[in-house]
Amino acid sequence: MLFVLLVVVVLNFLMLHLAPGDIADTIAQTMGGADEQDMAELRQQYGLDQPFFIQLFNYVIRVALLDFGHSHFYNLPVFDLIMERFPATLLLVFSAQILSLFVGILLGVYAAQNPNGLSSLFVNMFSLFGYAAPVFWTGILLLIAFSLHIPIFPVSGMRDITIETDNFFVHFFDVLRHLFLPMITLASIFFAYYSRLCRASMLEVLGADFVRTAKAKGLSKKDVLLKHALKNSLSPVITFAGLSFSAVVSGAILVETVYSWPGLGTLAFNSIISRDTPVLLGILIFSTLMVTVGNLLTDLTLKALDPRIKI
């Protein structure tokens, strides 16, 4: 895992270095132009005049010491900037992932009980809609619906700054209310995938010999379905959820932009526009970390689910 992180750090640095232009250009631009000498001074100030490998080496060492540099745009340490917004993204990503897994599995189990019936058709249509619709489109539609027509959920931000109490629960529910729409939007693509996958996997498991054994034991339909069949059909769903975790993280960036959710997505968007390289690099490291931890969690879940898996 550490090795993965190191490779990602180096690759990120390389990638951004290859792009034309640097912070000196941006500053010069905002100042309305600068002469050669000013540019050279700026570059020296930011260490950009050093050979490439020295820059890379210095960067890697600083990252290892958890020093992500200083944002040119916000004039704040990158680490503080990220830590301020990271919890919001983490909340959005995990709640959307858990919601989509829960709903997806529920729909999948429901549809698998009667694979040729109406309920199955309904779930299939619903999932088709889910992965056909791009997340920013779903997001904007929900935004319009809930801002103009049924204004029960806030459509922007994470907190209501007009609240004046210190009561924890009031703030808690306020965040939940704000979370609702972004979470639904982000989850909408994924519960489509999960329900299809879970349905297929359930159907396969329901035909297995041990399900027949469970029925022959006299277990109720509910026990056969939820205890014996479900546990066996979960591993493909969990595996896929782990693989698609990175897609959830990148989806979060779009969703955050649509709903002005104060997370890493909005920050990333702004730092790309303003060529704030240290911030961008920091965000990339954090999302890598999130994806690696997500995959680790997936492996551990699979291991807990299936005793035959060895790590």
Binding site: D209, F210, T213, A216, K217, L219, S220, N232, D306, P307
Partner: protein, 600 residues
């Protein structure tokens, strides 16, 4: 005796795309309290479906009881609600299935799976049910039951899993136990133990048993009464002695004739085809003499597989699959290798044509040293040795017409010109007695026996000298098995073929072999002429193996005392393990017995 189960005029229909199909047709029979009723018939005759209907577990939407009554303990099962049926299943009627490998849930410990059924029906708390489950595992003779209860099914052997299934089935002292081919997937030694276990538990608890099987030898061991089924109908019913000694229906007679019986070849020096019902009595059954000219000489063959482990995937141990094996096959004769699964008999077959690369040894086919050949010459040499595999369903490509599949080896070796290919393949179809019109068909349109004929035709295409038949008839129904065996023996006479016949079925081996080798844990423990091995087995393992074989004669039942198998030791050893060479003693002419310790 009172009737426990009474099935009256049962009709079961299957809904298929082509319309409804009668799977069970006007079937009636009864099972009395604490008796064993065997239902015999070939695959597709409706015996398993009948059992499932007794459990009310027919797959919904596919099979359904269209008319007739099933009375259990004088209750009509059709009138019960689903909840009432759930109370009966696993409690008063329980069932064990054919495939112990897949019948247990892989994600729960065996203790959980046994105690689950106890908690469901007996209202015990978790701790008490667990204690009860451990007792049951002990009753079905799982060693160290208190520890093994925490094991998952994948940690147990096939025989142990079937014991666990029996423990689940008997947990609530059911009035009837339905056993659907419970030993078909198991080795003969394990089969003998499981049959003995079912019999013992039946005597202890007085439960009735409905035993479904296609194996007449198992019927002879188990049954009080027998029902014979033939496509959906009952053709005969009677006590086990009536059925075996005085069968009335033609089908029962043909079924009995098709079963090779251990010992019936004892007086014959050479193997000969079976006389099947329906063939002319005058047709002479010619013994297959063969020659005494060696075709294949195998000396000190050793095959070991590496076991990889650790981060760097280094070899940490080795599986000693074949350990110092030597034998000779004569032209026109058959050598059989027998033994339990995992004894290395299949690996010997594969090593001969280098499907797995042997570690050391010497394989000489008609003067050519197979193991020293380079890739190109090996390709040539392979045309002399062909294989026929066990599973006729998966060893043919489902998407190619049969003509192409039989022609493939000929095309690969470029041996036949295109113009004559058609005629050549036609001849091969004639040889294996399949109509030439089958050439453009696909495998799914054929029955298991027909597919195995195609596999044989494919093996014959290159005019091989030796055919390795690896459990080639094990998956077939008895009557089909007899036909395929007869076909193989006819081909042997006509073409002067030699066979290496790998099988676990002692009765079949007795029927087809000139010589027999018995394998245990990678070593050949005894080898010699067939009569000598069967009449005068010398090695203790051979003796025990022969004792385990069920005999298709109800007067020759085995008792549990005949059995004393030890669990098979592991063939995996660390890298430093250097086994001693196999030493043999010649007890009679050509009859060798291993004197080295083989672990038995």
């Amino acid at each position: 005796m009172e009737d426990l189960v009474s099935i009256k005029n049962l009709n079961i229909e299957a809904r298929t795309r082509a319309g409804t199909l009668k799977v069970v047709n006007d079937l009636s029979f009864t099972i009395k309290k604490s008796e064993t009723l065997c239902v015999v018939g070939e695959s597709g005759c409706g015996k398993s479906v009948t059992a499932l209907s007794l459990m009310s577990l027919l797959p919904e939407g596919i099979l359904k009881v269209s008319s007739g009554d099933i009375l259990f303990d004088n209750i009509n099962l059709a009138q019960l609600s689903e909840t009432e049926l759930e109370g009966i299943r696993g409690n008063e009627i329980s069932m064990i299935f054919q495939e112990p490998m897949t019948s247990l849930n892989p994600l729960f410990t065996v203790g959980e799976q046994v105690s689950e059924v106890i908690r469901r029906h007996k209202n015990l708390n978790k701790a008490k049910a667990w204690v009860n489950a451990v007792e049951l595992l002990d009753a079905v003779k799982i060693p160290n039951p208190d520890k093994r209860a925490f094991d998952y099914p994948f940690q147990l052997s096939g025989g142990q899993r079937q014991r666990v299934m029996i423990a689940i089935a008997l947990a609530c002292q059911p009035k009837i136990l339905i056993a659907d081919e419970p030993t078909t997937a198991l080795d003969v030694t394990i089969q003998a133990e499981i049959l003995a276990l079912i019999n013992m538990l039946k005597h202890e608890t007085g439960t009735a048993v409905m035993f479904i099987t296609h194996d007449m030898a198992v019927v002879a061991q188990m049954a009080d009464r027998v029902v014979v089924m033939h496509p959906g109908k009952k053709v005969e019913e009677g006590t086990v002695h009536e059925i075996f000694n005085n069968p009335q229906h033609e089908y029962t007679k043909s079924l009995l004739a098709a079963v090779p019986k251990l010992g019936e070849m004892a007086s014959k020096k050479y193997p000969e085809p079976m006389r099947l019902v329906g063939e002319k009595k005058t047709k002479a059954l010619k013994p297959i003499v063969g020659t005494n000219e060696p075709l294949l000489k195998v000396n000190n063959l050793v095959t070991r597989y590496p076991v990889k482990g650790g981060v760097l995937r280094r070899t940490v141990a080795r599986v000693h699959a074949v350990e110092d094996v030597s034998f000779t096959i004569m032209k026109g004769k058959t050598l059989s290798l027998v033994g339990e699964s995992g004894c290395g008999k299949s690996t010997v077959g594969r090593s001969l044509i280098r499907l797995v690369e042997p570690t050391s040894g010497d394989v000489n086919l008609d003067g050519q040293n197979i193991l020293s050949l380079n890739q190109k010459d090996m390709r040539e040499a392979r045309s002399n040795i062909q294989m026929v595999f066990q599973d006729p369903f998966s060893s043919l490509n489902p998407q190619r017409p049969l003509f192409d599949q039989v022609a493939e080896p000929l095309r690969n070796y470029g041996m036949v010109k295109r113009e004559v290919l058609q005629e050549k393949i036609g001849d091969l179809f004639d040889r294996v007695k399949l109509p030439r019109s089958f050439m453009q068909r696909y495998p799914h349109q054929l029955s298991g026996g027909q597919r195995q004929r195609i596999a044989i035709a494919r093996a014959l295409a290159l005019n091989p000298k030796l055919i390795i038949a690896d459990e080639a008839v094990s998956a077939l129904d008895v009557s089909v098995q007899a036909q395929v065996l007869n076909l193989m023996m006819e081909l042997q006479v006509d073409l002067g073929l030699s066979f290496l016949f790998i099988s676990h079925d002692m009765a079949v081996v007795e029927r087809v072999s000139h010589d027999v080798g018995v394998m245990y844990l990678g070593r050949l423990v005894e080898i010699g002429p067939r009569q000598a091995i069967f009449r005068n087995p010398q090695h203790p393992y051979t003796q025990d193996l022969l004792k385990a074989v069920p005999i298709a004669d109800p007067d020759k039942r085995k008792s549990e005392r005949d059995l004393n198998f030890k669990p098979l030791p592991s063939p995996i050893h660390d890298l430093t393990h250097d086994p001693v060479p196999s030493e043999y003693k010649e007890v009679a002419k050509n009859h060798y017995v291993l004197t080295t310790d083989c672990g038995y």
